[in-house]
Each structure stands twice: as structure tokens, then as C-alpha cells.
């Protein structure tokens, strides 16, 4: 259970930093950021799931986290340039996987609890 605590502490530090650091980005990038965040969230849930399955690999996790986020952001940006709402693709793909990952996590948790 230790990695989960580390993750939560990391999140809290990040939120506090984000709220108090004077960093801003143009509001027009808000959409790309939101898609990137969705991808990142998906990666985190995927990481938790793989950890529960016992095949967690930090390299895959980190590359997936940044790779997915950047890819989603770029995809949304290109879609905007082309006039095709490509960010829907990212939303459906990552949103769907997010729920799938969450469902697996829940299953493992319930199994673990019922075993005890």
C-alpha cells in the first residue's frame, strides 16, 4: 500500500505548488491541457492497475504518462488546425480506458477484501 500513499502525497504537493506558484498559460491552450490531463489520469489509473496485477514497470509508467499526455495535447492541437475535432478521439479513447482501468482496480480490491 505504500506506493499509493506516496502517490497521494505527491498529488497534494503538486496541487499546492500549482495553486501557489505564479505559473500561467494562455487560456486558448486550456482545451489541449484538459485532454492531456485526461491522458495523464488514465496513465495513473493504468499504473495502479498494473501495480495490483504485480507487473508494474516504472519505465513503462513514466513514458506512458508523458507520452500519452503530450500525444493527446498534440492531437487536439492538430485537430484544431485541421478543423477536425480530433480531441474527441483522445477523450473517447482515454475516457473509455479510464473506466476500464477503474473497473479492474475495483475488482481486484473487492477480491482482496473478500479473501481476508
Amino acid at each position: 500500500m505504500k506506493p499509493l500513499i506516496i502517490a497521494i502525497i505527491g498529488l497534494m504537493i503538486g496541487v499546492v505548488l500549482g495553486l501557489y506558484l505564479p505559473i500561467t498559460y494562455p487560456t486558448s491552450y486550456s482545451l489541449y491541457m484538459s485532454v492531456a490531463i485526461l491522458a495523464a489520469l488514465d496513465s495513473v489509473f493504468g499504473g495502479i492497475r498494473s501495480h495490483m496485477e504485480g507487473r508494474f514497470n516504472s519505465t513503462i509508467f513514466v513514458t506512458g504518462f508523458f507520452g500519452n499526455a503530450i500525444l493527446a495535447g498534440i492531437l487536439a492541437y492538430i485537430g484544431d488546425r485541421l478543423g477536425v475535432p480530433l480531441y474527441y478521439a483522445a477523450i473517447f479513447a482515454f475516457g473509455g480506458r479510464l473506466f476500464q482501468n477503474f473497473a479492474m482496480i475495483r475488482r481486484y480490491l473487492i477480491e482482496r477484501i473478500s479473501k481476508k
Partner: protein, 244 residues
């Protein structure tokens, strides 16, 4: 070794995620404060608008009641004294000239509206509001035809009336109004109508060039409200001179 490294990496990634989440939250929140009002805020504003409109209506009825009272008092006074009576008549004359009195009489009613939605000329912007100078032109023509009193959407046109586009409204006498514009004019109905409807005249231009919906109707009785704002002369002073 590997476990510690892995945990460190997870922690770092979570810091980054939290940071980005907080940034996005702050950015979106800022948007709402600035201009992209969410539905809740819009509803709130609509409620406020309704309240203020009700208040305005109440105040308007109050104005009318007080004006009636004032008139009664003046009448009673004038009955008592001949001097006051003649002064009152003089005052009435100037009120009519300046447009402070509501007047009625024969005239025309002109209704101007944008091209109907769905027609081939319909556009996102209001044509008549963008080309509000057409209204000024119309007033000019009416005055040319000898109109004695003119109002647009119940705003009396007086010597210092301004008509201009302000955001989503056309301000007349600094009162925001919008289409359809109902222009009432008192004068000889035939002359007024003929002046407006002359070939290649103002109505023709508005209908054919700007594709506006415009109707001109002669009426036996048109009621035009008075100008109810206060005109103050701060800079202009009368000159005592008879040489012209």
C-alpha cells in the same frame, strides 16, 4: 533499489499531475470570472435584470402620477390668477416646441425590422442596428416633409437627441432599444407618406439595398410621448444681441 526508484518515480509523476491539475483548475476558474459565465451566473444576471426592469416600471408609473399631480396643481393655480394663466399657456407652447409635452394628431407610423430569419438576406448581425444612420436619414426626411413631432420606439426626437450603436443596443436619448423600430411622426399624413415612399427615396433604399422589412402606415391619430429627461445648459449662455 528498484522498488525505491520506482516509488520515487511514481511520486514525481504524481507531483507533475497535481501541478497540471491545479493549473488547469485555476485557469478554468479564471475564465469563469472573466467572461465565460456559466449558466448559473447567467441566470443570476437575468434575475437581476428582471428585478431592475420591474423597478423601472414602478418608477415610471410614479413619474406619470407625479406629473399628473403637477398638472392639476398648475391648473388650479392658473384658475386663480390671470398672470399665472397666461404664463402657463406660454409654458405649454414652449413645451410643445421643445418636445417636453406628449402630443397627438394625424401622421404616419413606420415600422422597420431586420430581414426575416431564414430568408436569403438574414445575417447574424442586425442590419438595421449596424446601419442605424438609416434611422437618422429617415428622421431627416420626415422633418423635411414637415413632421411636427417624431419618436422612435417611444423616444421623442428632440434637438439634442443622439442615436448610436452601443453594444447590443441602439441608444436613443441614451435609452437602449432594439429592432423592430417603430417610428411615429405627426404631420400631414399624405405628405409624410409620399416623401418616404418616393421612388429611390429612403424607404426604397432600405428595402432594396438593405433588404429590411419596412411598412409605412397613415393614421388619423398618432400619440407621441414627450421627452422626459432633463436638459441642462452648462456651457451655452444667452447672448443679448439684436443685430443679425
Amino acid at each position: 533499489m528498484k522498488g525505491i526508484k520506482g516509488r520515487l518515480v511514481v511520486g514525481m509523476v504524481c507531483v507533475v499531475l497535481g501541478l497540471v491539475l491545479a493549473l488547469q483548475f485555476r485557469s478554468v476558474q479564471g475564465n469563469y470570472d472573466d467572461w465565460r459565465a456559466p449558466t448559473q451566473k447567467a441566470q443570476e444576471l437575468a434575475g437581476q435584470l428582471k428585478k431592475i426592469r420591474d423597478e423601472k416600471q414602478k418608477l415610471l408609473t410614479q413619474i406619470n402620477a407625479l406629473e399628473l399631480k403637477k398638472k392639476e396643481i398648475e391648473e388650479i393655480e392658473s384658475k386663480e390668477d390671470g398672470l399665472i394663466k397666461s404664463l402657463g399657456e406660454e409654458l405649454e407652447k414652449y413645451k410643445i416646441i421643445s418636445g417636453a409635452r406628449s402630443v397627438k394628431g394625424p401622421g404616419v407610423v413606420v415600422v422597420v425590422d431586420d430581414p426575416p430569419p431564414g430568408s436569403e438576406y438574414a445575417s447574424d448581425v442586425s442590419v438595421i442596428m449596424v446601419n442605424y444612420d438609416l434611422l437618422l436619414s429617415l428622421i431627416n426626411k420626415l422633418n423635411d416633409a414637415g413632421a411636427e413631432a417624431i419618436s422612435i420606439n417611444d423616444q421623442r426626437i428632440v434637438s439634442n437627441t443622439a442615436i448610436h450603436l452601443a453594444g447590443n443596443n441602439v441608444n436613443i436619448n441614451a435609452v437602449p432599444t432594439g429592432p423592430p423600430f417603430v417610428i411615429k411622426a405627426i404631420g400631414n399624413p399624405d405628405t409624410l407618406e409620399a416623401t418616404l415612399n418616393v421612388r429611390f427615396g429612403i424607404v426604397w433604399v432600405m428595402r432594396d439595398t438593405y433588404n429590411l422589412q419596412i411598412t409605412v402606415k397613415k393614421q388619423d391619430e398618432v400619440i407621441i410621448p414627450g421627452y422626459n429627461q432633463i436638459t441642462k445648459f452648462i456651457y451655452a449662455k444667452p447672448v443679448e444681441s439684436t443685430v443679425q
